[in-house]
Symmetry: C2
Subunit: 148 residues, 2 copies
DNA sequence: ATCCTACATTAGACAGAGTCCAAGTCAAGA
DNA sequence: TCTTGACTTGGACTCTGTCTAATGTAGGAT
């Protein structure tokens, strides 16, 4: 199961369609996000990108991630106050389950409609555009006694 | 409506009961959190605390906020990847509605049970301890045309 | 009331995450 | 192939937050 709803490789096409230059750097960042379906931090993306393209710079990784987020191709997730993580699974609605101990993240699909759970009287005149849930818990690995 | 479920002034008593020294600095931080029911960042708390007690240091504000969080008297909220905010309303369950433009936060109470919305098949062996919702939208002030 | 001392506070150095900028590079249309 | 504007680079910079060694002080002991 390597390709989620849309392959990242399609992403490269879509980017070009939107007038983006296809550079080696952007290709590598997209490949890293595609390679595992994992929520990397920018620095983790940089490390993996560097392995494929040693000259790539930190600024470019941040720029590219920012562009992908702006295009709606990738989701930015900040579950703790620390580094943001990038979620390549932007094309199917989901929420996140994060391990309070190690910080790992799983995509989950809760039942019900979050938006309709917020009554009009609780909206305070806001024009509401969306909602995110973060479930917190301990992952099986961290729960295992003999491990840290 | 100055005092929510429990007044911060009670907090000082509770702190002393738990063996905390009552210092001018801690008192001032608690007062700032109590004064408006607003979700300040640490730096905003520092600024307001400095107005009352000019010698107070950044480290102390961070320390005190950390202690209040550890005691469960204050909630730490990080809605964007930027500065954490501190929510003095820790004694009644609620969620947050944040303005995508200016970052301001309101407490809201959605209906329904978040935890039960996540079926067993979507828990991946995690021992789940809680869930938070962040509703996003544009606040009335930011939606107003003539304002920025 | 004063003394003691363990706990608090302070200033400033440090660290991690992210942004910005001027200079150099290169994708892709002409 | 040439040209040019968009892209990339490295390094400086900002913002949050943490740590530390030196100094101060709350509050129990005397």
């Amino acid at each position: 199961m390597r390709c989620y709803p849309e392959c990242m490789s399609d992403l490269l096409e879509r980017l070009r369609g939107r007038g983006f230059r296809l550079t080696a750097q952007r290709r590598v960042v997209a490949e890293v996000l595609d390679s595992d379906h994992v929520h990397y931090t920018a620095d983790e993306v940089l490390a993996r990108a560097t392995a494929r393209l040693p000259e790539i710079s930190r600024a470019t990784v941040y720029n590219t991630l920012g562009e992908l987020v702006a295009l709606g191709e990738v989701l930015e997730v900040s579950t703790d106050g620390r580094a943001k993580r990038y979620d390549p699974n932007a094309h199917s609605a989901h929420q996140h389950l994060v391990c309070s101990r190690c910080g790992s993240i799983r995509d989950v699909r809760p039942e019900g409609d979050l938006l309709s759970a917020l009554p009009e009287s609780e909206r305070f005149g806001f024009r509401i555009s969306g909602a995110e849930v973060t479930y917190r818990g301990i992952c099986p690995d961290c729960a295992q006694p003999g491990r840290n």
